[in-house]
């Protein structure tokens, strides 16, 4: 990520209403910056999936003010970078890591095929828990999803993903 300007941020537990508020803010900001429909839709899609991921999986730990849900959107010269962090249970890490590595290993057509096969498999929970959200993020992102897990204690880790949406030549 080059030196960008943070245009949107949220720290702390996330409500569904706040997701709507952040999306409206982003749409207004990108309109103001003169971004086209393609960039706005890609940013919208990546934001919804990232924020809903935080909302649905925020395993908040009481009295831990360092590892609270965190969302930022940064504007760089040629891209927007979305960063989303939340704490997760350690035992959920291997499955999530496997999904992230899988989408990162695929090209556009591979992601399309995975998206289709995931829906057709029927193994989609009401949360979209089969990983459709991650596939959607990978489809709109120009680069691979950058992720990290930082162990907090025996039960929890702090999970972060970074997603880049290009706006080069799309103004």
């Amino acid at each position: 990520m080059d030196n960008g300007e943070i245009i949107l941020n949220h720290k702390g537990p996330l409500s569904y209403e706040e997701i709507g508020f952040l999306l409206n803010r982003m749409t207004m900001l990108l309109d103001k910056l003169g971004m086209n429909v393609t960039t706005k839709k890609k940013a919208y899609s990546a934001m919804v999936e990232s924020l809903e991921n935080i909302y649905k999986h925020q395993d908040i730990i009481a009295d831990d003010f360092e590892h609270v849900p965190l969302f930022t959107m940064e504007r760089c010269d040629e891209s927007f970078c979305i960063s989303a962090s939340n704490s997760i249970l350690n035992h959920k890490i291997p499955a999530l890591k496997e999904k992230l590595d899988r989408v990162n290993s695929l090209d556009k057509n591979g992601l399309k095929d995975l998206y289709k096969s995931t829906i057709l498999s029927g193994n989609v929970s009401p949360k979209g828990g089969a990983g459709l959200g991650i596939i959607n993020i990978a489809k709109v992102s120009e680069n691979k999803i950058v992720y990290s897990f930082k162990q907090m204690n025996d039960t929890h880790s702090y999970f972060n993903i970074k997603v880049t949406i290009s706006h080069k030549n799309t103004k």
Binding site: Y16, V37, I119, L120, K127
Partner: protein, 136 residues
């Protein structure tokens, strides 16, 4: 069969199923908090509709074609599975011989939404007519 009308919001789609007019539409934004609670009544309505159309067909009544319009602006990944279920219901209608035309609307700049429609059509083996909405 009664109409199914649901007002749209900035998180849930507008639904306008009017069997008497042979016109069914769903569109807008879809990222409801409880996606299952939102879509189950819609899919259940379509199942009942299929039952009533099958009964009509058994009586040998010929019928006007039905038009189904998808007019989404955005839907999230949790909604995608349920939209696929709607398309499957439509394929069932075609399977029992109901004349049905399906339209998928998308903004001319929104290639993602266009592709999403192509993927759904392809997955369910149901032909869609694509309608590009021109910017003002």
């Amino acid at each position: 069969m009664e109409d199914l009308i649901i007002e749209g919001t900035n998180i849930s789609p507008k639904v306008c199923f009017e069997p008497k007019r042979n016109l069914l539409e769903i569109g807008g934004y879809s990222r409801p908090e409880n996606v299952r609670d939102f879509f189950y009544p819609i899919i259940s309505w379509l199942e009942k509709y299929r039952g009533s159309l099958a009964a009509e067909s058994n009586q040998g009544t010929s019928r006007e074609p039905i038009t189904f319009k998808f007019k989404f602006i955005y839907f999230n990944s949790s909604s995608a599975k349920f939209i696929y279920d709607i398309v499957i219901e439509l394929s069932e209608l075609q399977r029992i011989g109901v004349p049905l035309k399906i339209y998928w609307y998308f903004d001319e700049d929104d290639e993602e939404l266009h592709e999403a429609g192509e993927e759904l059509s392809d997955m369910a083996h149901v032909p869609f007519s694509f309608v590009e909405i021109k910017q003002q």
